[in-house]
């Protein structure tokens, strides 16, 4: 069925909503990346099977919903019973029967599956009351985890595509742009460029055709917000893109997605087909005379293709090497035509801005960074997952109030934001407000939203080395400062980690970093030294410990550590012996074991498996 007019869209919404409300009680099964990795698909299959077999009155498989990422990945697989928001954590296939018997047949609660907050020992029934959720404000992630992933009927039922209808029928392109400018929305991919201004520039350029691109090449390791949106709520991105296309007068759009996200590719493709079938994409959308269509372009696994000019070349089937930006891609972008490129999360915000107004959006967050920001809160933090908070929330609130602090209550060392281009911030910076400008001033950056918490067992030299290695691998090699500079910077970082470096080497590294920043062509090189610069700025002592004392305080850098077994504690369980791939550990059962240092390659396997803390790193 094709929707020809706006009133038909309204009718469809009514029908869909009625159909949705037919099932007052629904079971939401989180099928986000985290829960899937823990077996959510099997749980969903079991629910379907048991519900089919049991034939419960007033409940059918239609009330089972596989949703996108609900956010609290650490507690997954998650199952939520609506409308009460009963929140079951770490669900296993064998729990399914009990959930159905107790929560669906009898409307009671399976106490043992509820969430208990480690901080205060309190058990919660309704997820909305859990601190992890309570302190969040979800705009870009508004639908994820609440509706079936990739289901246009449910998306329309909860008001989807109405903002698009409003823009296309009641607003002139300039009015849409003004609204987005008023909202203060800044690019959520990390750059933070005002979205409205970008659209305004593109709309003014006298050249055709114009293109709208969505950057779904979420390359920052440690970030998965865009993945969650593309998989869980692809229609919000499509709707945002249609509104952008209307604003700048474009008829062709591309979504560039990483190949590493196969489900995102599938769901986006499916969502586009659903929208095309209803006439929400294609020719004469809703009878307004406006034509716009979207194609999915799969990335080839190159980090540099997150950069605008490289991405556009990649969409055109070329090698993704960035070019100098004397002429910006808004003017000459894809196929050398005017192009608007925005991030997934930016587009997901647009429909809400059009529906509720720019003023409403700008009332959230800080004066210069409005709205909210999604983060993937990961690393050595207790509550890992996907969150969205108003701009201006402090790092401390995110890590401690939402994140529940560091795992095993170890000392906090640093939080890394902004991916390979960002930096590490120490404990004394935890009171900083999370917004574009504050983080940049502190030597890190907002980035796309990865927030990686590190404890005292994480070595900052190792982290800097890790990011530099990543950037060497991903540098396209076009310009010398990036290609050779990062290579040398990495070599020096390796020297530090192996205790071979001198203090002069640190000066050299700082000087070299300066030159890389000045001389590189694109953002990859320009921000490449950041992981080093931010760690040396805040953790110079740790670098010096490697250089002067030949010691890695975190016990990570292999050349400087030794693993030892404490014979007093070791009970001879043999776990480390079987874990060691180098046969470096000897000993009999129930007798203390011993590590032969000549054979040990310090891989840490024994340390990881020892249940008795008998192995120490010195």
């Amino acid at each position: 069925m094709r929707i020809e007019t706006i009133s038909q869209l309204k009718d469809l919404r009514k029908t869909n909503l009625e159909r949705m409300n037919k099932h007052p009680r629904t079971v939401l099964i989180c099928c986000g990346p985290g829960c899937l990795a823990n077996g959510a698909k099997k749980i969903s299959d079991e629910f379907h099977k048991v519900i089919k077999d049991k034939k419960i009155k007033g409940f059918s498989v239609e009330a089972l919903k596989e949703t996108g990422c609900h956010g609290f990945c650490e507690q997954g697989p998650l199952v939520i019973i609506e409308p009460d928001g009963v929140f079951y954590t770490k669900v296993k296939v064998r729990d399914v029967e009990e959930i159905i018997e107790t929560s669906i047949k009898k409307k009671e609660i399976v106490e043992r599956l509820l969430y208990t907050n480690a901080a205060d020992g309190k058990t919660y029934t309704d997820y909305k009351e859990i601190p992890f959720y309570k302190l969040q404000n979800r705009i870009a992630l508004r639908n994820i985890g609440k509706i079936r992933q990739c289901d246009i009927d449910e998306y329309i039922a909860i008001g989807g595509y109405e903002a698009m209808a409003k823009a296309l029928s009641k607003m002139k392109p300039q009015e849409v742009i003004d609204e987005v400018i008023a909202s203060g929305l800044r690019g959520r991919g990390g750059g933070g460029f005002p979205t409205g201004r970008k659209w305004a520039t593109c709309a003014k350029i006298d050249d055709e055709p114009r293109y709208v691109i969505c950057n779904g090449d979420e390359g920052d390791p440690g970030a998965f917000m865009d993945r969650a949106i593309m998989e869980g709520d692809p229609h919000s991105v499509i709707e945002g893109m249609i509104i952008a296309a209307w604003a700048v007068g474009s008829h062709n759009g591309y979504i560039y997605v990483r190949e590493e996200y196969p489900l995102a590719v599938v769901n986006l493709q499916k969502a586009i087909e659903q929208a095309q079938a209803l006439g929400l994409l294609g020719e004469n959308i809703l009878g307004t005379g406006f034509d716009f269509d979207i194609h999915v372009s799969r990335g080839g696994g190159a980090f540099v293709c997150g950069e605008s000019s490289a991405l556009m070349l990649s969409v055109a089937g070329e090698v993704g090497e960035p070019r100098a930006k004397y002429i910006r891609s808004v003017q000459k972008g894809l196929f050398d035509k005017p192009t608007v490129l925005n991030n997934v999360e930016s587009y997901a915000n647009v429909p809400v801005i059009i529906a509720k107004g720019g003023k409403w959006f700008s009332s959230i967050g800080t004066a210069k960074s409005t709205g909210t920001k999604a983060f993937s809160l990961v690393g050595k933090v207790r509550n890992t997952g996907l969150i969205e908070v108003p701009m201006g929330t402090t790092l401390k609130q995110i890590i401690y109030d939402i994140g529940g602090g560091v795992i095993k209550d170890r000392p906090f060392k640093a939080v890394q934001t902004g991916g390979p281009s960002g930096g590490c911030l120490p404990e004394e910076k935890l009171d900083l407000s999370v917004d574009f400008d504050t983080l940049t001033q502190a030597g890190s950056m907002m980035g796309s939203g990865g927030m990686i918490v590190m404890d005292d067992r994480t070595c900052v030299v190792d982290v800097a080395k890790y990011f530099l290695q990543f950037l060497i691998d991903e540098s396209c090699g076009k310009c010398v400062p990036c290609r050779e500079g990062l290579y040398q910077l990495h070599a020096l970082a390796v020297a530090v980690s192996e205790g071979r470096a001198t203090e002069e080497d640190l000066d050299k590294m700082e000087k070299l970093s300066e030159n890389i920043v000045i001389g590189s062509l694109c953002g990859l090189g320009k921000s490449g030294p950041n992981p080093f610069l931010s760690t040396i700025r805040y953790f110079r002592d740790e670098y010096l410990a490697h250089i002067r004392d030949k010691r890695c305080p975190a016990g990570v850098c292999r050349a400087l550590i030794t693993y030892k077994i404490d014979p007093e504690i070791c009970n001879g369980c043999m776990a480390c012996i079987s874990a060691c791939a180098h046969e470096a550990i000897t000993g009999k059962k129930k007798e203390p074991h011993f590590i032969n240092q000549d054979k040990c390659d310090k891989c840490g396997a024994c340390y990881a498996v020892c249940q008795h803390n008998a192995i120490e790193v010195v």
Binding site: G34, E260, R298, G300, A581
Partner: protein, 154 residues
């Protein structure tokens, strides 16, 4: 090794015969054969009207493409930041030791390949290892062994 190239025309038909289809076509070929056979690259160049040198350049630029055959089961170790600080390096080593190949290589019997990938976006479950399309979260040095064992049996 002989390959059945009869699927190539079907792959070509999925996309317009234009240079901008190059990456998409190569991705589908990679998916079909688990690598990019030389003959397929030549055919692609002819079909899309791009020089073979450019097909080669694109094939070697992007990580998704491989010019060497991959194993039946590709074990991908996520080495994203979160997985790194949660010990993916140890897991990589354990896997390399168990299968007696390095990352980027394939076992002699053609059963397994090990690859490292910079973030699969399941950071909350770090460290993550994927066997073909099946993801395993919270992998430890101890359960890597079991993972290899069960996959060897299949």
């Amino acid at each position: 090794m002989k390959h059945d190239f009869s699927k190539l025309p079907e792959i070509f038909d999925r996309y317009p015969s234009a240079p901008e289809s190059l990456i998409a076509v190569l991705q589908d070929i990679q998916k079909e054969y688990n690598f990019l056979p030389c003959h397929a690259l030549e055919e692609t160049a002819k079909r899309l009207g791009v020089p073979l040198s450019k097909v080669f350049s694109v094939s070697t630029f992007y990580n998704a493409f491989s010019l060497n055959p991959k194993g039946e089961k590709v074990i991908r170790i996520c080495v994203g930041t979160t997985c790194h600080i949660r010990g993916s390096k140890q897991i990589q080593q354990q896997l390399e030791n168990l299968l007696k190949i390095k990352a980027g290589e394939t076992t002699e019997d053609g059963k397994f390949s090990i690859e490292v990938v910079a973030c699969v976006g399941a950071c909350a479950m770090a460290p993550v290892v994927a066997v073909n399309d099946e993801f395993h979260g919270g992998v430890t040095v101890a359960n890597v062994k079991r993972l290899v064992k069960t996959n060897k049996k299949d």
